[in-house]
């Protein structure tokens, strides 16, 4: 066992998969440059020396290198691509959505695209174009699997599962959770370190996880919001409210078995999402809960999400944009009181 942050755990996970399977390679911008940073958040630091020729630095060309990765995946490679900021997925999205996601179906099940695409998201003092929560744009795309990792344990286990999966898998990561060090450390970072087993393990791509058990209310979140939900639950416990916290983690498909079991127990649900409320993944989950376990609900599903605005730069407004512990606590209090 060793204690690691998400950046380190991903790095080890990538290295182990590359060692295990020669068809695995990494492709992206500034990921292997000598004297560089190992990608925007240090995840691939040092891997270029370890795996010569298999950490491929590209021009700044997201559409292009994503298409290259899709093509290589079709021909039997297992690329791990990444964009420096999730926002740039808009450039790559034609290849992801029109090609990677659909080729299996369009080919009548003859093409395989075992692609991994990693993307950092989250509002972190960089203004409107380096901050958006991108999960929402990909969860409704049949053919893609979408996960969001909030702990180092999950990051490594889901990365490995994604590499071994025969479908395109998108992994969302949060800038405040990487635990990047030195010049790449993030102000306001939250501890997402885990004890990482020495032995090989995977975390399934379709299972949510209960982070804290409770009986009065279920709080659902992912990425940074999974951490804030747990902090809120700890506060609420002091006032006698026992909240169950579920890290949704698998955003497509969504694990209604785990979520449903909790809702049947608590009868009350708060979904927390960083990102505009309108059109969010939380809307899909709320509708899914209605379809799967409406009978168990004792109150309408509540959402805590961002305002319907682009991400503002100034810290005062950015903090207002990002759901926080006090807002989650307040929403739960109100729901449980109802």
């Amino acid at each position: 066992m060793k204690r690691q942050g998400i950046a380190e755990a991903l790095r080890d996970g990538i290295a182990e998969e590359m060692t295990r399977d020669p068809s695995v390679f990494c492709i992206g911008e500034d990921i292997g440059v000598p004297g560089g940073w190992g990608g925007a958040f240090t995840v691939t630091l040092g891997l270029a020396e370890k795996f010569p020729g298999r950490i491929i630095d590209t021009p700044i060309a997201e559409l292009g290198f994503t298409g290259v990765a899709v093509g290589a995946a079709m021909m039997g490679m297992r690329p791990i691509a990444d964009v420096q900021y999730g926002d740039f997925l808009f450039l790559a999205s034609d290849q992801l959505i029109n090609n990677a996601a659909k080729l299996r179906y369009m080919s009548g099940g003859t093409v395989k695209v075992p692609l991994v695409m990693r993307a950092p998201i989250g509002a972190t003092g960089r203004g409107s174009q380096h901050a958006q929560s991108m999960e929402r744009y990909f969860t409704g795309v049949p053919g893609l699997k979408v996960v969001a990792v909030s702990t180092a344990y999950d990051a490594k286990g889901m990365l490995k599962a994604a590499v071994r999966d025969d479908n395109p898998v998108m992994i969302f990561e949060h800038k405040l959770l990487y635990g990047s060090k030195g010049a790449r450390a993030e102000p306001g970072a939250v501890d997402a370190t885990s004890e990482i087993p020495d032995d090989d393990y995977v975390v399934p791509l379709d299972r949510a996880v209960v982070r804290r058990e409770g009986t009065h209310v279920t709080i659902l979140g992912w990425l940074l919001m999974a951490h804030f939900a747990q902090a809120a639950a700890a506060q609420l416990a002091a006032e006698g409210i026992e909240a169950e916290v579920i890290d949704v983690r698998s955003l497509s498909p969504i694990d209604y078995e785990t979520i449903g079991a909790s809702v049947r127990k608590t009868g009350r649900v708060v979904i927390v999402e960083e990102g505009p409320k309108t059109g969010g993944v939380s809307a899909e989950i709320a509708a899914g809960i209605m379809e799967h376990c409406a009978d168990s609900l004792q109150a309408p599903v509540t959402r805590v999400a961002s305002a319907d605005v682009p991400v503002p730069f100034t810290p005062i407004l950015e903090n207002a944009y990002r759901p926080d512990v006090p807002r989650i606590v307040a929403a739960v209090r109100q729901l449980v009181g109802s």
Binding site: G36, I60, L91, R126, Q129, A307, F313, T314
Partner: protein, 334 residues
């Protein structure tokens, strides 16, 4: 690659033939940008300024030379590295520092920040922080000018890194096809983030791209403010005459990190030293000295004035009013 460009005769003519005050004005702008950036770097590292920063120390002459060839109603588009462009285009030190401190008095009310500096009244679109994202935009702005039969031009700043993006090809092709009044200004500082251009371009001469699309491109010493100005004046004149676009590749070098606390370990020491020896401000000071009517005391006085201006603006910006929570949801729709 240390470019050996032959000295520009047009630049030499500008040095001899220009009014002294115009040249001193260029010098002041260069110093203003350098001092602004150094002060911002200090404030950022000290932890009092929020966010992230992309700075342009060493590249001042590209912004100053190009913008000096524009009229105030011409437009520029910029990037994540836009502080120099903004100052050169005439944004105020105060509105920019206020923006960097997230104040409601900032040029974008604190909503934009360092990467989205801009002011439409001064002819600067908020910086587009998506690499190459400003290129089709600039073509579209120029198309509007053409359709409206307005005489304005757009100068579109982008880096060497942008040349690899699809948006570059698509935007440039349309600008060429429709003879749009855009000066495409590639600030080739040899690096896109940590990646040196020779790792991402088979043909590292960006100006060569223009011929492929059927228009004129030119490589210019981007650390010689008068060479940039001369090339930009010619390009702007061609655009105004309906003979656009023009691609200017300005060779320059980023002395500071790509962003934040980047220590530039990927830039070889000898390369850094060679470029530091071609500092645009020192070179221009030396050129001015050749004229015989500019003394070191003149330049020192300019520097002192700039330092004072910035110090005063910082003091104001640090106490500038922050937005209120009600501002979160304003400005989303027109």
């Amino acid at each position: 690659m240390n470019p050996t460009l032959s000295p520009s005769p047009a630049a030499a003519a500008l040095l001899r033939g220009s009014d002294r005050n115009i040249l001193l004005g260029l010098y002041e702008k260069l110093v203003l940008i350098r001092e602004f950036e150094e002060r911002v770097k200090f404030l950022f590292l000290e932890g009092t300024m929020p966010g992230t920063i992309h700075q342009c120390q060493g590249q001042e002459a590209t912004a100053v030379g190009v913008c000096a060839a524009l009229r105030s109603d011409d437009f520029i588009t910029s990037t994540f590295r836009g502080h120099g462009h903004a100052l050169a285009k005439g944004l105020g030190v105060q509105e920019m520092l206020d923006e960097l401190f997230g104040a409601s008095t900032g040029c974008c009310k604190g909503k934009g920040g360092s990467m989205h500096m801009g002011n439409m009244d001064r002819g600067m679109v908020p910086g587009i922080a998506i690499v190459a994202g400003g290129i089709p935009l600039a073509a579209g702005m120029a198309l509007a000018f053409k359709l409206q039969q307005r005489p304005q031009v757009v100068a579109c700043f982008f880096g060497d890194g942008a040349v690899a993006e699809g948006a570059f090809h698509e935007g440039v092709n349309m600008a060429a096809l429709w003879n749009l009044p855009v000066v495409l200004v590639c600030e080739n500082n040899l690096y896109g983030a940590s990646t040196r251009i020779d790792k991402v371009m088979k043909n590292p001469c960006v100006a060569d791209r223009a011929a492929a699309y059927g228009f004129r491109g030119e490589t210019v010493d981007g650390n010689d403010v008068l060479a940039v100005l001369a090339a930009a004046q010619r390009a702007v004149a061609e655009c105004r005459a309906g003979q656009g676009p023009v691609l200017l590749e300005l060779l320059t070098y980023r002395r500071t990190g790509h962003s934040r606390r980047d220590a530039c370990h990927y830039q070889p020491k000898d390369e850094r030293e060679a470029w530091f020896a071609r500092d645009p401000i020192e070179r221009f000071a030396a050129q001015l000295a050749e004229r015989g009517d500019v003394t070191p005391a003149d330049l020192a006085a300019i520097r002192a004035r700039v330092e004072q201006q910035i110090a005063a603006a910082v003091a104001v910006a640090q106490r500038a009013p922050q937005p209120t929570l009600a501002d979160l949801t304003t400005d989303v729709y027109a």
